[in-house]
């Protein structure tokens, strides 16, 4: 059963192109997707997913389920960095521990998007407001991470400009575009949806596929860094997502989300940020070693989630939700 799910997941073009990208690096092909094309693709994906989410959010309205889901999202995004921080301190210094904790507390939009297309494939419904959850879960981990650094490192000359930090956390381009598109989706509703549909819907799957080709290239280039990260972090990068997904599923079950939403929530909990958070950490906790937090998130957790994780978590749902 689980095997089938994984297979039907792997045999989708996006995942296969992700493999193709990884292969290109491994066989030393000169295939590359030059900048700023990946930027364009990710802007498109945030634009499309945000807009779609807004349009659906306005249909469903702000029900109690919505509120509950969003609260759960916030809690999860604040809880994960805290508990992982203490776990990581066993092996790492406070700076690295805090940076990695923040990375795993936050989310990966592409993992979310891949999961949503997986659900669409299987004909399992999910709610548009999950995109709001996606948006809400990106920032808290950054704040929590910095608070942890402040508490656990006596470091006088560290004076964050908190305004800058909040800026980084809530106004970085991905959060901003996602939330903005969501709001516009809410404002324009069904009508706006129809006029944009060929662009936001028609191209979506293809552009995701193309983007995952690049993700494969990027992830594979990071693999060599893993030698430096060591076994502890690599296993962390696989086990913690599973654990976070499990916690996420229990919460989802508790506030009984429908299956589709539950999967997306699990995926959000399991995923790690490899852009927004690392960029914030690089500037606010320069003492931490970027190759630790970027490479684990990008070269281990991301591939794991989109290949094995998503179907695995769905399998869990199929057990729990019957």
């Amino acid at each position: 059963m689980d095997g089938n799910l994984i297979l039907s997941n792997i045999l989708n073009p996006p995942i296969l192109f992700f493999f193709l990208g990884m292969t290109a690096v491994l066989v030393k092909s000169d295939l590359e997707i030059p900048p700023p094309i990946p930027k364009l693709l990710s802007l498109y994906l945030l634009f499309a997913i945000g807009f779609k989410g807004g349009v659906e959010l306005i249909k469903s309205g702000i029900t109690q389920e919505v509120i509950l889901t969003l609260i759960a999202a916030m809690l999860m995004a604040s809880f994960v960095p805290i508990y992982t921080f203490f776990l990581l301190r066993l092996k790492l210094n406070n700076y690295d521990a805090a940076a990695i904790a923040a990375t795993y507390g936050s989310i990966s939009a592409v993992t979310f998007i891949t999961a949503s297309t997986f659900l669409t494939e299987l004909g399992i419904a999910f709610d548009g407001y999950m995109v709001a959850a996606l948006a809400l879960m990106e920032s808290p981990a950054i704040i929590v991470g910095l608070i942890l650094v402040n508490l656990f490192t006596e470091d006088d000359k560290r004076e964050f400009v908190w305004s800058e930090v909040l800026q980084e956390a809530f106004l970085n381009s991905s959060v901003f575009l996602l939330v903005g598109s969501l709001v516009i989706g809410v404002l324009t509703g069904e009508h706006g949806w129809q006029v944009l549909e060929p662009f936001t819907q028609g191209l979506f799957y293809g552009i995701l596929t193309f983007f995952l080709l690049d993700m494969g290239l990027v992830a594979a280039r990071r693999i060599k860094d893993l030698q430096k990260t060591g076994v502890f972090l690599i296993s962390f990068a696989i086990l913690i997502p599973i654990l976070n997904a499990a916690i996420g599923l229990l919460i989802a079950k508790f506030i009984d989300m429908p299956r589709g939403d539950a999967l997306l929530f699990a995926v959000l909990s399991a995923s790690a940020s490899y852009i927004a958070v690392p960029a914030a950490m690089r500037l606010t906790v320069p003492e931490a070693n970027p190759s630790l937090y970027v490479s684990t998130a990008l070269a281990v957790t991301f591939p794991f989630n989109i290949i094995v994780g998503i179907p695995l978590y769905l399998y869990g749902i199929n057990l729990l939700w019957r």
Binding site: R221, A279, L283
Partner: protein, 104 residues
Amino acid sequence: MHAVKKIEIIASALELPKILEGLNQSGVRGHAVIHNVTGQSLQEGREDFDMTMLDNSVYIIAFCMPEQIKPVVEHIRPLLNKFGGTCYLSDVTEIRSINCVASL
């Protein structure tokens, strides 16, 4: 013709705003920034461009008067030590023109 100083800074794209602020504070008003620079630093490195901006560097060039060097060093060195990046100085001759550094 006029003798001026050239400042070259290579650093992570993320530091750019801080560095430019440092230059402005040092009274160096003019600069040019070259983006999407890939490279390899002394420790480890990567040649590919990267979606995760972390590895993309910027190459900053600023021409200024010799007396401005001291403040620049004072403002920039702490940034380099905190965030990484390297900074180099050299002597160049400026061709007089309306916008030239020495024309102030």
